[in-house]
Subunit: 350 residues, 2 copies
């Protein structure tokens, strides 16, 4: 066991504190790395505040982790000391179910092991990337290619793959019209990735406040959804709508923007149920779908794709101080970040 | 113009009456045929009772029409006198939009012309198949192959294509597990067709009352949805759920029965909105979709497929008498028909 510094919430109602946690010994297939940066995902906040079920406290959040390898187990073949690596939303899966065998470990039928606020199959708690060091099995470790800085890479491990995977699965590319709903941490990466895939990209944001950013990221069109005219102008326009917003939207209105056989894919999870009319689907053979992060193979593909196309997250780097992270959480809740916070764990005192 | 006998409802609150209607002159591309049988679709009842918007009265329902050609226009090339023909839910479309050009006229962007309770593009009302004769453009006329009787063929023109098209579109076939929800007019054809496509078919019906029928039609499994254990036993089992029920179902429970990438396709249109949780989709990349009848080319393909596989509707033949049709409507509403009523229009006095 190794003791390492971390930022943790001791209970759901408390702010962050500096603490230490234990990391397991580096096993034969394990990779130990120094965390350089960890992104703040909105789901960190839900879990740290116990807004979803069964939080495990104290909690060290963080599943957008990037750093540099400092030790590897004696049977590790994929990584060496000094390699730039990342870890996303899960650190293990059953490896035996149909979905794991298909490389879709994020849909593991036994339940994949979450990077934090989860339990390994032996029952021990998992602690995430708001820490100085992490030990992960090499099969669940990603390689961060040269050409992306570690701070820009970190958010790709969740926000990047969450948008890349459905864009790939639903065929975003040349000749396809893609709308990205929401210009936040996920949305801004969805725009960059869809543009790089060759699709014609439209941003549907509540207002036009971020239009300049959206166009800089490559969007061809930018519409405000607070303007009802938007829904008249764009009727039956899109092959794919990637909805990154975690609030309940008037789905029938968005569905009307899809062409024949178009799909609206939701990657934000509202806390309340959603409502729609079957006719909004059947009238044009549309689909409502959802997608959850991506498998290990596809996450590596996404990182390589982003490196090739010069895609990183737009980040604001935070000092690794409890008060700073508390304030950042408030700003994420208020949508006051362009576009992702990353914590500089390299600066956390050991 | 030709005067022909018909069964009509004069107003939304009235029962059927025997009446006469005018059919247009046979144009150069038109087919005139004697109606032999017309199926009673549940949507006939909604429209005759004006439960949907803007009914045109008097109304002659019927869009599951089968009969024999008695005259053709001088430029007709596809049909000759004596041919066995059918007409489904629409009798014209714009022929110019992307969807029409793709052979998906049922999704015509201008709006296809409904076989009844609709208007031709020149504004004249359409009257359906509860009548002695029909005149239809040859491009919207289907050929009924030898080997299916006209009474068994009639319901294929709506109920058959409504189930065939999504089964084909979502890849029902060998190695695929398909659940058909509801064992009514649509469902019983969905079972026959999915079985003939080579899929492993499960019926999900409210009770086990029709289990014997379901197995006779080829279903491998039959479960009652009133039994909550069904949803535990069948978790993550199906590639495709074809929902033929027009009532609001607890969708999350049904979605949990889908495997990774599975789709639940709705062909019944509930009058109230439906509710679901995004997590029920995103947790296994599932889809909720809807589908509406099928295009002319696919409807012909469906008829040929049914003839090849010996598939017809299971029908109860009704005398063409107003009182009899009124009673049949009550029985359809009470789900008291195995499995489709067809009216014997051949017996209607001219």
């Amino acid at each position: 066991m190794t003791t390492t510094a971390a930022l943790a919430v001791p209970t759901a109602s408390a702010g962050f504190e500096r603490t230490t946690i234990e990391r397991r010994e580096v096993g034969p297939h394990d990779v130990l790395f120094d965390v350089a940066f960890c992104g703040i995902c909105h789901s960190d906040i839900h879990q740290a505040r116990n807004e979803w079920a069964e939080g495990i406290f104290p909690m060290v959040p963080g599943h957008e982790v990037a750093g540099t390898v400092t030790a590897v187990g004696d049977q590790v073949t994929k990584f060496a000391v000094g390699d730039r690596v990342g870890v996303g939303c899960f650190v293990d899966s059953c490896r035996e179910c149909d979905n794991c065998l298909a490389g879709e470990e994020q849909y593991c039928l036994k339940g994949e092991v979450a990077t934090y606020n989860g339990r390994h199959y032996d029952g021990t708690e998992t602690y995430g990337g708001y820490s100085k060091q992490l030990v992960v099995h090499e099969d669940y470790t990603l390689r961060i290619p040269e050409g992306i800085s570690l701070e820009e890479a970190a958010p790709l491990l969740c926000a990047g793959i969450t948008t890349y995977s459905p864009l790939r699965h639903w065929g975003a590319g040349p000749g396809k019209t893609v709308a990205v709903v929401g210009m936040g941490g996920l949305g801004h990466l969805g725009v960059k990735i869809a543009v790089s895939m060759g699709a014609e990209v439209t941003v549907l944001s509540q207002s036009l406040k971020k239009e300049e950013d959206g166009r800089r990221l490559g969007a061809s069109h930018y519409y405000a959804t607070e303007d009802r005219q938007t829904f008249r102008d764009l009727r039956s326009s899109f092959d794919l709508i990637l909805n990154t917003v975690a609030a309940n939207l008037p789905l029938d209105r968005y569905l009307s923007l899809l062409r024949l056989d178009g799909a609206m894919v939701n990657v934000g999870i509202p806390s309340d149920p959603d409502t729609f009319r079957v006719m909004a689907l059947a009238g044009m053979r549309r689909s409502l779908s959802g997608s959850k992060i991506g498998g290990i193979r596809e996450t590596q593909e996404m990182l390589d794709f982003c490196a090739e196309h010069g895609i990183g997250a737009e980040v604001e780097v935070l000092a690794p101080e409890p008060r700073v992270v508390d304030e950042a959480y408030e700003r994420v809740v208020a949508s006051d970040v362009r576009y992702r916070f990353v914590i500089d764990l390299g600066a956390l005192e050991a």
